[in-house]
């Protein structure tokens, strides 16, 4: 199934505003992150494990166990710094 991935802040600078990713049915947000890391290059650098990264599923903060459905929107971004 296809999900729409969106990037913000330093992740957006490294990878662009977003892209479409195809993953197996039942995949989680963490699976999407791993699939992107597996591409290597700037994806591996920006999304690598151990780097502080927060995620959102359909525009709500989530952890990486969150399960995806067809057409879901996944956001990856650094810790937030508003206010």
């Amino acid at each position: 199934m296809k999900v729409a991935v969106r990037y913000f802040a330093s992740i957006r600078e490294a990878l662009g505003p977003g892209e479409s990713v195809t993953v197996d049915a039942g995949a989680t947000v963490g699976v999407v992150r791993d699939a992107l890391i597996a591409r290597g290059g700037p994806h591996a650098a920006a999304l690598q494990r151990g780097r502080a990264l927060r995620s959102a599923l359909n525009q709500s903060l989530c952890d990486e166990n969150a399960a995806l459905t067809e057409g879901a929107e996944v956001g990856f971004f650094p810790p937030v710094t508003g206010g």
């Binding site: 913000f8 802040a9 330093s10 959102a56 525009q59 709500s60 937030v80 710094t81 508003g82 206010g83």
Partner: protein, 159 residues
């Protein structure tokens, strides 16, 4: 009461006008607490000449709406308003307004602080500072997570 509770905008805001609109027509209001955050000219030991604020359109507004719902449940307040600016800002500029109305001051003070603590760690905004040594993304602060923990909420933002 009729206006929006949350605005994310490039334009500046007028504290007096916002407070007037928030309490208009509600004679049950006996207290208004408002916080205004502004751009400092220094951060982490470096001069800041300007700052860019980015957000996640749609998610940011929804997240703050949910925070106001949580504040309305947790505190005895009558209404709340949040304005957050995005785009290019300079030292002295206003960044954020949180205003809360209640019957008595205690709940308004607390709800205002709760909303700011929540917003700092859970609303998707990112600051990029321009300094003499170049541009840098601002790091999240553990102290902000700790501020939210006082309300019994685990932030896990800066971790």
């Amino acid at each position: 009461m009729a206006g929006p509770r949350v605005s994310v905008q490039t334009e500046d805001f007028d504290l007096g006008a916002e407070v007037a609109a928030l309490r208009a027509g509600d004679p049950g209001v006996g207290a208004v607490a408002a916080f205004v955050g502004t751009v400092r000219d220094r951060n982490d030991g470096q001069g800041v000449s300007s700052m860019e604020l980015e957000h996640y359109p749609g998610m940011t507004e929804r997240a703050i709406e949910a925070m106001i719902d949580a504040a309305m449940q947790r505190f005895d307040i009558r209404d709340a308003r949040v304005v957050h600016r995005v785009g290019l800002l300079a030292p002295l500029d206003q960044i954020v307004l949180v205003a809360v109305t209640s019957a008595h001051r205690g709940q308004a003070f607390q709800a205002c602080e709760f909303l700011m603590d929540y917003l700092k760690t859970q609303a998707p905004f990112w600051k990029k500072e321009h300094t003499p040594e170049g541009a840098r993304w601002v790091d999240a602060r553990v102290a902000d997570d700790e501020a939210l923990r006082r309300w019994g909420i685990t932030a896990g933002n800066a971790a």
